[in-house]
Amino acid sequence: MDASDVQRRIMDFMSRTLLFQFGNSVGPDTDLFQAGLIDSFGFIELVGFLEATFAVKLTDDDLASPETATLAGTTRLVMSRLSQ
């Protein structure tokens, strides 16, 4: 599974479950919390999705990291866990 596959699956989840689309105003480096597109419950759903879908375990540091505020950062994080 490469990074583009991972990113595509995360984007699909965000579209279906978190109900927003990536496009003109929302990009891979958009801070989704700053943009008001995700709240704490949405983040919990995202983490649950990542761990179940990619069979990775995210640490407390991961969850607090600015990486998990963006699509690109989340993708990088998952890829780094998959490579371990």
């Binding site: 579209s15 279906r16 479950t17 978190l18 109900l19 927003f20 801070d31 919390f33 700053q34 008001g36 597109l37 995700i38 709240d39 704490s40 419950f41 949405g42 919990i44 759903e45 983490v47 649950g48 407390d60 607090a64 505020a69």
Partner: protein, 335 residues
């Protein structure tokens, strides 16, 4: 309009998909009733481990976010009688609690021997919070508005923040909510909060609320980290580990003197504002604000299709909610 043949969720719910047999994707990804039973048992065992790990000689071992409604009343009863936790019940008076709710809070807490705090935010702020939430739902993420009305999201956000603030101030390690299935993401049954570490992540949300509701909102939604940045507070939701029907809940509460209020509508057992949220949500989005919660109760076998149909059909009318809109200076016709 198409509705799921199993859980009644309509195709007006954003993001919902259906298969060729008329089942929605939430039903398709829900395990069997038997497996759900095992999931609930696992949640219960996990919660019991958490409870045991947090027993102490502190004055209070658990703050219960106590609305006075049936679910949080049952939660309080369970934690006190079954788990022998020293609880502090905190009720946030939003200005729209039914008269009977105050009595219910008193008789339940007295009957269980529990200390109770009634916190009453300024009416002017609460009315502005509700009005602003009704006028502009974008204060909340799209997925939050699917889960509950914008009004309820704002109120619950204030309540949750208050509970965490008090837990931090009073050094209470546990907070218990009365959430039931469908009101929370499935992975949120137990949450470990680290307000110190999470302050930066939380900050955009607080700033958004301040932009929407004014600087008055800041103290209600800000959680000060405290001296220990690694301080943890665990949030549990005992009802998620139980399979108990509404009528059984109310039967269990009756000996304490709890009675269902008559003026809170079909979907609330404590709050009169709830109907306005349901009315506006239906008008804007074309599905009931309680559709997801009701669907989950059906999937768990706790509500029959007939009961769910009746619940979702009992929508408040404009006449039912006009007085609420007047109270908060909301122009219903502008929505």
């Amino acid at each position: 309009m198409t509705s799921c043949r199993r859980c009644l969720l309509p195709d007006t719910v954003p993001g919902l998909r259906f298969d060729d047999t008329g089942l929605c994707d939430l039903c398709l990804e829900t395990p069997s009733v038997e497996e759900l039973g095992r999931v609930r048992a696992a949640l219960r065992e996990d919660m019991e481990r958490v409870i045991e790990a947090h027993r102490s000689d502190r004055p209070y071992e658990c703050i219960v976010a106590y609305s006075g409604g049936k679910d949080s009343s049952y939660t309080l009863k369970l934690l006190v009688e079954t788990y022998r936790l020293r609880c502090l019940a905190i009720t946030v008076d939003n200005g729209f609690l039914a008269t009977r709710t105050y009595t219910n809070c008193r008789v339940v807490c007295e009957g269980l021997g529990v200390d109770h705090v009634l916190f009453t935010p300024r009416r002017s702020f609460m009315n502005a919070l509700y009005r602003g939430s009704a006028e502009d739902e974008s204060v909340h993420p799209p997925a939050a508005v699917r889960r509950a009305s914008s009004i309820c999201n704002s109120c619950i956000g204030l309540i949750n923040s208050h509970m965490v603030q008090k837990a931090m101030e009073m050094d209470v390690p546990l907070i218990a909510g009365g959430y039931i299935g469908g009101q929370l993401p499935r992975d949120a049954a137990r949450l470990v909060l680290r307000p110190g570490l999470q302050a930066e992540r939380r900050s955009p949300r607080v700033e958004r609320l301040v932009r929407s509701f004014g600087e008055e909102a800041r103290p209600y939604f800000t959680i000060r980290p405290g001296a220990d940045p690694n301080r943890e507070i665990t949030v549990i939701n005992p009802m998620l580990g139980l399979a108990i029907r509404e009528d059984d809940i109310m039967a269990a509460l009756a000996p304490l003197g709890w009675k269902r209020p008559q003026e809170t509508g079909v979907t609330s057992t404590n709050c009169r504002m709830n109907d306005l949220g349901v009315y506006l949500h239906q008008k804007r989005h074309g599905f009931h604000a309680y559709a997801l919660e009701t669907a989950e109760q059906v999937r768990h076998g706790l509500l029959s299709l007939e009961e769910a149909t009746a619940k979702l059909a009992a929508l408040p009318t404009r006449d039912d909610v006009a007085w609420i809109a007047d109270r908060i200076s909301l122009d219903l016709d502008a929505i």
